[in-house]
Amino acid sequence: MLRRTTSAMAGLAVTATLLAGCTGETASDAGSGGKAVKDTLTLGMNADIPGWDPSNQPGYQGWAGEAVWDTLIKCDAYGKAEADIADTWEISADSTSFTAHIREGQKFSDGTAVDSAAVAATFQYSTSHGGAQGDYKGIKIETPDPQNITISWPEPQPMIVSRICPVKITTKALLDSGKVNDTPIGSGPYVLDTAGTTRGSVYAFTKNDNHWNAAGYPYKKLVIKVIESETAAVSALKTKQIDGNLISAQSYNEVTGSGLDVTTMQGVTTRLLLTDHLGKKIPALGDLKVRQAINMVFDRDAMVKSLYQGHGKPSYQIFRPGSDAYLDGLADPYPFDVDKAKALMAEAGFADGFSIELPTMAGQNHETLMPYVTQQLGLLNITVKQVPLSGANAIGDLLSGKYPVVLWQLGNFGQSLQDIDVVVRDTGYWNLSHQPDATVDAAWQKILTGDEAQKKAAQQEINQYVVDQAWFAPMVNPDGFYAHSPDVTIDKVSDIEALTPKLRDFK
């Protein structure tokens, strides 16, 4: 009996092996073509796309959206405008209107012309759909002819280019049909291959040879596979089932050891956000000396070495190197010095410390960071109570202001104006306590009315101010990793968030 069972199991293995040999899906031949052929680019992504509504597309791993839709203009890594549907454009001196000329001869995947009516309809749609509706409130659109369009806001928009870039242009007919989630219509470099697509699993695309920038997208086919597990993604990379995937630091050595290339990005800053600048919820935080003391108890070099295994750089400011607000050569304003920090706490009258609640959430690397942060704050007698957030309430709770101090690996944009708008200004959703500040407001006014040089100076003024005021305790700029086949070239990362290469970066 045992012999028969053994035979049966051996038979199963042999059968499986034989079957694998005739599938055409084996590890050896699945995935991309060679460097010269540029046949198929197969990318893994760790979360499904949120349907095909053009107003609800992610920037993070947003390759499917980049494939099927063009935008009026594109943003480069630092938020500067690049051509797309529009070949020329102009921004009014007061930053309230954007006038663009739409290049001629472009067509959507349904064969209709890309014209100002379609662009206008899509921008209008964005005023009432998706998560960025507020950015388009009150816009007026003028379309004097099919090739020209002007989009105007009632108030000056210092980030007017960033407002234009994300809007993915589709047809008015599709928007009016109410079936935006069924099949995308766009004029992008690829067209969705519905036959080869299984939603939630595999998205297949064929190249749009008529695209105005077809030469910028060398692959004839694009396949995007949803692979949630990093273990599975690494296996797929190693067996050439996919050509590229984001990986964490834990997989770095395994991936590079397997002969794969890794593109490194620095798009986030690990930081404590100390948003209760006026001390309304936690009185101690209203004292500058306390905020400075908190900054002094973190040994940033040791954090890079121990917590990030050397994959990162110490951070003394929250803005991206190379962005307008970044202060070149800024020395560590609060060098690691626990004794001095304790003295500052005593001077402020908080030698006995106080308590704070720090929210934690899965996927934020808190498991590694929180013990260290808790320990270091404990040196100042600051007691940390961790509050786990999950489920439907998590985002609302996080942004509600209930927790004025947060430990987070927040992104820093290539366009620092966005960081100022989101985390520094009192209206920003990451400025959790939303407390007004006259200095920031005054500098923002300079940004609204100044020329380019004045805008840049005002941004650096804000940066220096938040450093001096210790509104944050920046710690580390950790590396992000995109692992890819040596057959795929990624010379630059165009993503303004520096979190993933854009589709146009894969060569």
């Binding site: 939630g200 296996s235 089932q241």
Partner: protein, 313 residues
């Protein structure tokens, strides 16, 4: 017999209603929270309020559940809050993946566990000890560890099977078989180990009964005794084990689908629950409950058919 069936059906319907309502109540705890999660971090409060209404989350819980339930009876399970995809459309591609893995594993488990259990019980000695050791080992090692070892061996080192992905039978029968082989093996090792141990115990118990001694004393062949009498009388506990194995396999499929990047129902349930995509979660819960109830029902039916005493319970 008919009364037993009717009772089972009524019990199944009650369980179905209870579990779906409980899930619905838990998931629908916070309309604004769900709407904000759908819209993202930078959504403004007024946009969130509008989304709550657009998704129908502003209505009383019972009204929402009633709408879902009546929709479910007509085959309409709604649309995903996040992707706009119809739930039935999503399930139509997901359920076959999970069912393929679970059913193949279940059939192989039934066959192999009977063979191994009977072999161990009948042969005894070193054969029994080896099989018991392997059984403990197979039960102790989690399926996802086995999966990783299998991927490393067959996909990365030998390159004879795909590391990830699923090929539908419509595209390629061979491709389909290759894509399910490692996931099935990963689940199979643990389930066979567990079920074979149960069969061994049941067979040993039956072998010790008086009527087996009598049969042997009458000179009836050992093969006849084992396969006609012992196995039939050991089938009751075995069916229970297989029934429970189905539930375990459905749970294990969640991890296995992740490791092999299979677009199955477990993966859908997992990702939908994480983002509070209520319609998708309800769809996966409904299908899972139906599978569990059907398996339970069939198990009861088979046990009743094999054991007349069960009909009177």
């Amino acid at each position: 017999m008919t009364l037993t069936l009717v009772k089972n059906l009524a019990r199944s319907c009650a369980v179905l209603l209870l579990v779906t309502f409980a899930t619905f109540a838990l998931m629908f705890g916070n309309g604004p929270g769900i709407a904000r999660a759908v819209l993202g971090l930078n959504a403004r409060p007024e946009d969130v309020e509008r989304e709550v209404i657009a998704l129908g989350l502003d209505r009383p819980l019972l009204v929402q559940y009633w709408d879902w339930l009546t929709g479910a009876f007509t085959g309409n399970l709604g649309e995903s809050f996040y992707t706009g995809q119809s739930v039935t459309g999503a399930l139509s591609t997901r359920v076959p993946v999970t069912l393929a893995i679970v059913l193949i594993t279940l059939v192989l488990t039934a066959v192999l566990s009977v063979l191994l259990g009977v072999t161990a019980a009948v042969k005894g000695g070193w054969v029994d000890r080896v099989l018991q050791f392997l059984s403990v080992l197979g039960t102790a090692v989690p399926a996802f560890i086995i999966a990783i070892v299998l991927v490393f061996t067959f996909a990365i080192a030998w390159r004879v099977l795909p590391a990830t992905g699923y090929v539908t039978p419509e595209i390629s029968i061979g491709g389909w078989a290759a894509s399910v082989t490692l996931p099935v093996l990963a689940l199979l090792i643990g389930s066979v180990a567990s079920a074979a141990a149960q069969f061994r115990t049941a067979v040993l118990d039956t072998l010790g009964r008086d009527y087996v001694r009598t049969l042997r004393a009458r000179g009836i062949s050992e093969r006849h005794v084992i396969f006609r009498h012992v196995l039939r009388n050991s089938a009751g506990p075995g069916l229970t084990v297989l029934s429970l194995t189905t539930f375990t396999l459905l749970g294990g499929a969640v991890f296995i689908e992740q490791v092999f990047a299979l677009p199955g129902m477990g993966q859908l349930a997992n990702e939908s629950a994480q983002i509070n995509d209520v319609p998708m979660v309800m769809g996966t819960v409904l299908v899972t409950i139906v599978i569990v109830l059907v398996v339970n029902f069939l198990g009861d039916l088979a046990a009743t058919a094999l054991n007349p005493k069960a009909r009177t319970r």
